[in-house]
């Protein structure tokens, strides 16, 4: 049981000074930081996974032949040939309008789909792009086969693996997720240390009472349950407070995040498992506090006859 059941009359053996010490407040701060770090870690890990899934096995073939008609023919031929290959899941030509719309965001003419009436945008010599998604894990073999295909259908075209330019970003995000995970562990260790110090301080403060209880026949278990209950309740208050503040911050961030629909930021979310983890963390923290307090108290009491 996380918070041991102790008869009301026995609870009075410790003076009622709930929330009077620094422990609940320190635990609240640590819990809040732990939850924020955990949320950041989960969000970043999911983002890294989403990016990884998106870029793994995807390449874009860029055809830059000067003649627009030849360029279009090569792109169409390459798309058809690639789509017929067993190692290709899908091959798609990126339409000129799509490219113009993408570039339009930079030229200030987005929203009109085809670049609107922007003469500069319309006159740009855009390359023909073919996105190819591979099947399976044999990326090296697939790349060789694709190179041969490109050399045949669109000589001079460049093959751009997405992992080449987005991979470092994904790795960076994954590293940040690991750092966030490390921070969660460190703050959990710090919380446990706070509980140990609290338990030892409580033993020091109430040593006379403990000695008296021992001498009239109280067992270590009886004494431990008293202190364990008090420390668990105090830390539970801190954990509840810290969790509430963290939840408010996360909801605020989530509300602001909901407006982000594009780019890397759109890939960051907590998901059901992430929220479940965040909900479980406070309960785990209370259990850890109770367990730590119990072990600290039992170890200390064993030193007394």
């Amino acid at each position: 049981m996380i918070i041991p059941r102790v008869p009301v009359q026995h609870r009075r053996l410790l003076p009622d000074r709930r929330l009077s010490g620094p422990t609940p407040w320190v635990v609240a701060i640590l819990m809040m930081l732990t939850l924020l770090a955990a949320a950041a870690g989960v969000g970043l890990a999911r983002s890294a996974n989403a990016i990884g899934d998106a870029i793994a096995g995807r390449v874009t073939v860029q055809i830059v032949t000067a003649n627009p008609v030849t360029r279009a023919e090569q792109a169409a031929a390459l798309r058809r040939a690639a789509a017929a290959q067993p190692f290709v899941r899908s091959a798609r030509s990126v339409e000129r309008e799509e490219l113009q719309a993408m570039l339009g965001q930079w030229f200030g003419s987005e929203g009109s789909g085809d670049g609107g009436d922007d003469p500069v945008l319309k006159s740009l010599p855009l390359p023909a792009l073919v996105d190819v998604d591979f099947v399976g894990e044999d990326r090296g073999g697939h790349m060789e086969a694709l190179r041969a295909l490109v050399a045949r259908e669109a000589p001079g075209a460049r093959i751009i693996p997405h992992a080449e330019w987005l991979g470092p970003v994904a790795r960076l995000i994954r590293s940040l997720a690991w750092i966030a995970g490390g921070m969660v562990l460190l703050m959990t260790a710090a919380s446990a240390a706070v509980v140990i110090m609290t338990a030892r301080a409580a033993l020091g403060t109430h040593f006379a009472t403990i000695e008296m209880l021992h001498l009239i026949g109280a067992t270590d278990r009886q004494i431990t349950r008293l202190f364990q209950r008090r420390i668990a309740i105090d830390t539970a208050y801190g954990i509840a407070l810290g969790s509430t503040v963290a939840a408010a911050i996360l909801l605020l961030i989530g509300w602001q995040w909901s407006g982000v629909t594009a780019g890397l930021a759109a890939t960051a979310s907590l998901g059901a498992a992430g929220w479940a983890l965040l909900l479980a963390l406070p309960l785990l923290a209370i259990a850890l506090a109770a367990f730590t307090a119990r072990q600290t108290l039992l170890a200390a009491l064993k030193k007394i006859l």
Partner: protein, 243 residues
């Protein structure tokens, strides 16, 4: 529940054999202590300040293990006994401390009820005995008072009530009447005597020679510089023989 076995008929309640006690690397403060305490007997332990009375009592109420020698309590060797078995034995011992050791944030009633609560007695069953005890020590109207608001004598009475409320088999008292007036001292001694008649073995450490003369058939042990000069049974001080 206690895991301590009852004293076997005819056996000593407490046996000390060649017991020595030292704190740290210092010289022994108790040396070669040997005596037996018989069930249902009354003992006074005397000696000058610093003679080792409190240290001897500490071993009796299991707050201290000896540095050497054999200590048997209720027929069991306490020197080698694992500490998890000690609470069962402690519940059979009542202790009156020289400095009272009342729990400051508990009322007089709760301090007295403590041994019963630790022993698992229900609130229903303990309210009667605790109330009677409070009345007997003259603090029935101060049951809810905390130690800080009680006089030294009142605190001592509460401490004695706490020691005897669970009807211990062995009662150990360290200067129990040092802070009470002569009338209350006699009443408290009367309580010890009454408990002794009910079968409790009583050991009282005191300087008060008048107190000693009040109990018939009491035996006296005297500590001098850490050694027991008159082991139990070797020297008796019944009132009739006292000058």
């Amino acid at each position: 529940m206690t895991d301590a076995a009852p004293v076997r008929p005819g056996g000593a309640m407490v046996e000390f054999d060649g017991v020595g006690l030292r704190y740290g690397p210092d010289a022994e403060i108790l040396s070669d202590i040997s005596f037996n305490l018989q069930p249902g007997s009354f003992y006074f332990l005397t000696g000058a300040s610093g003679a080792g009375k409190t240290s001897l009592l500490k071993m009796l109420y299991l707050a201290q293990r000896p540095s050497r020698g054999i200590v048997r309590l209720f027929g069991e060797d306490l020197v080698a006994m694992p500490r998890h078995r000690l609470p069962g034995f402690r519940r059979r011992i009542g202790v009156v401390f020289q400095d009272f050791r009342l729990i400051p944030h508990l009322s007089a009633r709760d301090n007295i009820a403590l041994p019963l609560r630790i022993a698992g007695v229900s609130e229903e069953d303990l309210s009667g005995p605790v109330g009677e005890m409070l009345s007997w020590i003259g603090l029935g109207d101060r049951a809810d008072a905390h130690p800080a608001t009680l006089s030294g004598g009142e605190q001592q009475r509460v401490a004695i009530a706490r020691a005897v409320i669970a009807r211990p088999q062995l009662l150990v008292a360290d200067e129990p009447t040092g802070n009470v007036d002569p009338e209350m001292a006699m009443r408290l001694l009367g309580l010890f005597e009454a408990l002794n008649r009910l079968g409790t073995t009583v050991v009282v450490a005191t300087h008060d020679i008048h107190l000693i003369s009040r109990i018939e058939n009491a035996q006296m042990m005297r500590l001098e510089k850490g050694r027991l000069s008159d082991p139990t049974g070797a020297l008796r001080y019944p009132p009739a023989n006292r000058t």
